[in-house]
Assembly symmetry: C2
Homo-oligomer: 122 residues x 2
């Protein structure tokens, strides 16, 4: 069996509210996270909501990283989806912790595109 | 209890290979899917890989929709992440089925940002 994509879901609670509402800071964190996991950035897009909250997506040569923040609740939802053996999605976590400073991080690990290697090679 | 985000993971198998490698078609499908679920598009970005495969992300006022395709395997990995009561992520599925024509669709439904309403209101 082989998985085509590695997808980790991060539920980040008790984050610094100022960081969650800092659009340039979130964008920089995404770029740093891309480097940290060994991926190649195609483009990054962030958006600031009124009165608060930031959305950001980094499109990668190896899939994507996304973030959506709720500063009023100290919460951020992140997804790190990568493909290829050389990219390790978990390696983004220190950069994310360093910027958002969450009290609690829940990680859900999802194998995407599970294929039977024998079948693929046939 | 309340969830801040509605996130559906779609594992799409047996898709039309031509559709999976059709960058303008994937972009149009994303835009149609955004409309279908009642969301507001901020921007859409797609990328074509060599020799094959497409990545696309639609950034929404209510989170994001992403797709990564493996035409050689007839597989696409999609995520539809929305927030707000008025957006129904499942409503994207007919548009996706219509374009990719998968033989099999696996759906994983994930509640993101589960909060205790009493606590939030306190």
């Amino acid at each position: 069996m082989k998985q085509l994509g590695k997808h980790i879901i991060l539920e980040l609670w008790g984050c610094e509210k100022q960081a969650l509402d800092d659009q340039p800071g979130v964008e920089k964190m995404l770029v740093n996270a891309v480097k940290a996991c060994g991926a190649t950035l195609i483009c990054v897009k962030t958006h600031k909501f009124s009165p608060q909250g930031v959305t950001g997506v980094a499109v990668l040569a190896e899939s994507h990283i996304s973030i959506h923040t709720w500063p009023e609740l100290g919460y951020a939802a992140m997804d790190v989806f990568t493909c290829g053996e050389h990219v390790i999605p978990e390696d983004t976590i220190p950069e994310i912790r360093n910027f958002l400073k969450p009290d609690k991080v829940e990680v859900i690990d999802i194998k995407r595109g599970i294929v039977d290697i024998e079948e693929v090679l046939a």
